[in-house]
Symmetry: C2
Subunit: 322 residues, 2 copies
């Protein structure tokens, strides 16, 4: 439904500058540089989960979308839709979390809005954060520059956010230690773009996970992306939980990871830099861009020597994950 | 509750650039001019009402907030929270309306987001629109420049939006012809700022109406604002409906009107220009800024020769009006 609606919006608005493929728009302000502008609503359920909450997530999501376009997050807006009767202490906890995460990301919250709806007309609280940032000179060159041979790198272990939210919904009573990876990645990305030239493409693999993000890239470029299962970093507890639930970690949402596509000779530098910035998250080269016939797709070389296609997730695997 | 929460947000975030008094933030981008940035969520109920719908309103509200700060609306974001099961034709009607209003306002929709929540977790659809615009050289000088003697002008008859939405809720079965005033006012405001220098202050009197907007100004400036009841333009059908419901038109929401405060000698020009741009809406000088003692307030000289205080509305008079 989300996909259908999204396509509907784009096709009806018939706006060439509204590109479905990106999570943020880049606006050329003549003589003023390029401005990155993005929006996201957050409806995660439950509001609090191991490693984060809806407020933390709302800041991370928007800051990361700006960073993926090579923008330096400058200002955020904050709009609440609150169900009447939400306890004030819950609201305060969320605001406190927003404040801390925005500080960490170096983004200022500059404008806001609050709407209250009757009981039963929202699920406690929904948050929209929009954000703007200036594109730096070192932005990724974009999917049009992705070439066969390019390296595909993930900035760390995948699937934590998806599993942590499911655990908080009590769907995984056996998961106790696992935390969401939700974090602002903009500082690391800024350093990466500054120190390593020729980054082609960046994307935060949120809803739909790594599978959705790479399928979009494959579709745009008409190239094949070959992943190496053995190289994909998955924490043991995430792998265990995913297996029990029959979920593939490649499809699980991440909120503090990003994918880098870069020329093969840059892969080592990229991984090294991410490791220095975040010693704990285990970045890895997980695949390679390959030439393809007419339609782009994502293929996985499995641990058993076989190969299988990683399709675009159809519909929403896990509702209200962000 | 809204006011309480809003204050909470502002005080907890402790951000000097997040000013409660304005509906939009102005960001100085060094060497790049000043950027206006605003956000609003729309939860109006019902979705369609005479003279507009939630989509039309979402564009008007955000475009008008930018215009009030002297900004020229450039780009809008569009984020939907949709209740599962919303009929597609309703969504299409809303998108079509957004498209038309954005075109009329000259603002491009450049980025978007869609979240779907389960039945019973939203009331059909909520929309957030954020927007950015560049501040022109002719922006209002701001409330700090408001002086005793300044004229207070309203751009047209008041209260249409509030009454139209109530009528659509079937609370006013006798109201049949009345339409919301919702409209983008940015083109008129741009012309006004260009042609008439020294505009002090602009505000769109939405939630809480003219009463709330002017109370905020009186509070900021510590000046008194004296309104002349006989001069306030109220359409006959709005007056009739308000009387029956015991509502004061000064407190009713408007979505296509704006208040101008300017030096007294400029009042004639301002009214003339608004009339030329919008021959049908009846702009009028409705009051004067007066010196005051320590606390600013809004006073109304009534048609009966008496004077009464127009207080800040306490809480939300009419929920979900926008």
């Amino acid at each position: 439904m989300r996909k259908l609606l999204h396509e509907k919006v784009f096709s009806m608005l018939d706006n060439s500058s509204l590109r479905e493929e990106d999570d943020a728009a880049v606006l050329s302000a003549s003589g003023k540089g390029e401005l990155v502008f993005t929006t996201d609503s957050f409806v995660v359920q439950p509001l609090f989960f191991p490693g984060g909450d809806i407020g933390h997530l709302a800041v991370c999501g928007t800051v990361n979308d700006i960073a993926m376009m090579g923008g330096v997050p400058e200002a955020l807006s904050l709009a609440f839709i609150i169900e009447s009767g939400l306890p004030l202490e819950i609201f305060e906890k969320i605001i406190e979390s927003i404040k801390q995460t925005a500080e960490k990301a170096g983004a200022k919250i500059v404008t806001g809005d609050t709407k209250v709806v009757e009981k039963g007309q929202a699920d406690k609280i929904y948050i929209n954060t929009s954000g703007i940032g200036w594109k730096s000179g070192q932005a990724p060159t974009g999917w049009r520059d992705v070439r066969p041979g390019d390296a595909v790198i993930i900035s760390g272990t995948i699937g934590h956010h998806g599993v942590a939210v499911l655990a908080a919904r009590n769907e995984l009573p056996f998961v106790t230690e696992l935390k969401s990876d939700a974090a602002p990645v903009n500082k690391t990305v800024e350093k990466l773009l500054e120190k390593v030239p020729k980054i082609r493409w960046l994307r935060d693999p949120t809803r739909g996970g790594v599978a959705a993000a790479l399928n979009e890239l494959a579709e745009q470029t008409n190239l094949e992306i070959e992943l190496d299962e053995a190289a994909i970093p998955v924490a043991e507890d995430v792998r265990g939980a995913a297996e029990i639930l029959g979920l593939d970690p490649l499809y699980l949402a991440n909120e503090g990871r990003f994918i880098v596509v870069c020329p093969p000779e840059k892969a080592g530098e990229v991984i090294q830099l991410i490791k220095e910035e975040n010693p704990e998250i285990k970045p890895a080269k997980i695949g390679t861009v390959k030439p393809a016939d007419s339609r782009g797709r994502v293929a996985l070389s499995t641990n058993y020597g076989s190969s299988r296609i990683i399709d675009m997730p159809s519909g929403e695997q896990l509702p209200r994950i962000c």
